[in-house]
């Protein structure tokens, strides 16, 4: 192994990196971020932006750090006089035609051009009277606008569509200072993963129509989370503004989604902000529900849970591992049927350039976790059983009218719900629970990777996580999601020994699942 490592000195720091590593990646290890535009770790590097030029000792001229691979004993200066002068020059050229419309640009605040110019750009322009080139804004597709004026021609979007999405619809049209990103005639940027070009764009040239003018970058609170769109379990950032989710963005995880997420997942956030939520525990009194406090509602549930007779749990496939596990623990000792609802789509939408990455058919985040805990995927039989059961617990599921009618035949129905639904009518007790954006928890993706998500917004009203309710009912001591996870994990062999701290931000594979589905 050691023979494959080379030792390079970057800005005085000696680092050991594998052979073939580009200088820019080696520099990251040395704690130096070489400014760059066209380079992206998940895309091939063409070295067109000339921003990452660095001084390599004994090389005749500056070398692009994104394509120059390290050599043993190499000495690199990223911040030498020469390198800095080159970068300032590149920035000056980029600004010749770049409109200074930062006040109305959506990228302002997270724009790499803005950042680098602020860091080491020239103070003034030397092109006082020069008329900047002007191109109109183009509509590229369902969610992408192309603002040609702001484009710095890094070609990340072109390379993403060519090499990663495998649908080459974008190109660089014209030459020289007239160049712009063109789209093939009669084509649309409607690939199911096309939204990634917006994230890849280092400036505000490709902007999302959905996010357009919605919020400024500095207003956003960012929370690490997991996409709930399908069983792939892409790592995401939830961007919230004033307790409202305004945007989802991919979060790098080399083992799962690299730097990408699909448009289905990206747009799948409006339900998090829904206003028609259940906000207080409701108890049936006669033919209507009356709001009450937690103590009374929990006492009632305790009474129902304590009785004998078959019980059924019908849960959503998007419920967390903690909630599903604690709920099963709550009804332990009774004959139990437990099933999760997992919506199925007709087809997968793979991203060609990344192995084992697709928008999956199974459109629920935690189907694998439910399976692991012994939940059945057989939904219709479970609903039938529920019709004759003594106790039915519903966790955040949307029942059809027919299903709701069947479930109403049960002895008692306890609903743990987020939004008002059909199932409510028959319920003895309705308890408000938090949705994915409002709680901490874990999901297990289809490859068996256990991943954590964090709380992005506060729950409305008196909503609590479902695991908390289940723990209170059975008198189990679980005050934090970490404790709930520990209790659930103790009973599952694949999770044995795992703790919240172990999972970190990128998750961990279930024991025994490491080799099977995942890639290196």
């Amino acid at each position: 192994m050691s023979s494959d490592l080379v030792s390079v000195t970057i800005d005085g720091v000696v680092v050991q990196v594998p052979k073939g590593t580009p200088i820019i990646e080696a520099a990251k290890q040395a704690g130096v971020l070489v400014p760059h535009y066209c380079y992206h770790p998940s895309l091939p590097s063409p070295a067109v932006c000339r921003m990452c030029l660095v001084e390599v000792e004994k090389a005749p001229k500056l070398m692009p750090a994104c394509v120059t691979t390290v050599a043993d004993g190499q000495v690199v200066h990223t911040d030498s006089e020469q390198a800095r002068k080159a970068r300032t020059g590149v920035l000056e050229f980029l600004l010749i035609n770049h409109p200074l419309d930062c006040p109305i640009c959506d990228q302002a605040g997270e724009c790499e051009l803005q950042n680098y110019v602020f860091q080491e750009g020239r103070e003034g322009t030397r092109y006082g009277d020069y008329a900047k080139r002007y191109n109109p804004v183009e509509d590229f597709g369902p969610d992408v606008l192309y603002v040609a004026n702001r484009c710095i021609l890094c070609t990340r979007c072109v390379r993403f569509m060519d090499d990663v999405a495998g649908t080459p619809v974008l190109n660089v049209s014209e030459r020289g200072d007239r160049a712009y990103i063109g789209i093939d005639q009669d084509q649309l940027l409607d690939h199911p993963w096309a939204g990634n070009v917006v994230d890849l764009c280092p400036v505000g040239s490709l902007v999302s129509k959905d996010f357009l003018h919605k919020a400024r970058a500095w207003d956003l609170d960012k929370t690490a989370s997991i996409c709930t769109g399908c069983s792939q379990g892409c790592n995401i950032m939830i961007d919230t503004r004033d307790n409202t989710v305004v945007r989802l963005r991919p979060r790098p995880n080399m083992e799962v989604n690299r730097h990408f997420m699909c448009d289905h997942g990206r747009m799948n956030y409006r339900w998090m902000n829904r206003g028609d939520r259940i906000e207080a525990p409701l108890v049936r009194s006669g033919d209507r529900h009356v709001a009450t406090d937690w103590d009374q509602a929990l006492d009632l549930v305790r009474g129902l849970v304590g009785q004998a007779g078959p019980a059924v749990i019908l849960a959503s496939g998007g419920a967390s591992l903690e909630s599903l596990g604690m709920l099963k623990g709550m009804l332990a000792g009774r004959p139990l049927t437990a099933a999760v609802q997992v919506p199925l789509a007709d087809a997968e939408a793979p991203l060609a350039g990344v192995p084992n990455l697709a928008l999956r058919k199974e459109r629920a985040a935690n189907g694998e976790g439910a399976r692991l805990l012994g939940y059945s995927m057989e939904w219709d039989p479970a609903v039938k059983v529920a019709g004759k059961a003594a106790l039915v617990v519903l966790l955040d599921v949307a029942l059809t009218d027919a299903e709701a009618a069947v479930v109403a035949g049960a002895g008692a129905v306890v609903v743990l719900g987020t939004i008002e639904s059909q199932a409510l009518a028959a319920a003895r007790v309705v308890l408000p629970v938090t949705n994915t954006a409002e709680e901490q928890g874990t999901f297990v993706n289809r490859d068996g990777r256990v991943q954590r998500y964090e709380q992005a917004r506060s729950a409305p009203g008196m909503g609590r996580p479902a695991w908390w309710i289940a723990a209170e009912v059975q008198g189990a001591a679980a005050a934090t999601p970490a404790e709930a996870f520990a209790q659930v994990a103790a009973a599952v062999t694949g999770l044995a020994g795992m703790t919240y701290a172990d999972l970190g931000v990128t998750g961990r594979m279930l024991r025994g699942a490491s080799a099977a589905g995942s890639r290196v």
Partner: protein, 173 residues
Amino acid sequence: MAIGVKVLKRPDRNVSYVRATLKGLAITFRKMLEPKVTMQYPEEKSAPEPERGAWAISPRWRGTHRMLTDEQGRSKCVACGLCPQICPANCIKLVPGEDEHGNRYPLIYEIDEFRCVFCGYCQEVCPEEAIHVGVHYENAEYSRDRFVYDLERLSAQTHPVSTLWDPSDPKGE
């Protein structure tokens, strides 16, 4: 602890009110002949122009806001969000939107003048020179909600705008 008391000597005889009255009247008559210094507000008002002399209101005065408009009468604001960001009193409400030409503009722009501390940061930070604090001090209203100025009202203001403090010319010369 005793309190220190100073006992004043008061004249206890030959005290006449006539002398004191004459003394007072003398002051009154003298003042009647001197030039008047009282401004007859509200018949007479301060103005920012220097010809008002001692009553001139400073061009740096920071009063209630004014939104400047372009030639077509539209507000110059592009809803960039910098003024609500910098506002220390959190008194600016801004909701951006897009007009029929695809330009960014404020759908809602409201300033709560009650909350405002008149620091003038909004004017200083504005990249479009749209929002200004005004050289203006008569803000009375009959109801509290009239103190939340919306975009229409801000644009309709006609009073001059503040020049703010210029660090390169600290004395305003």
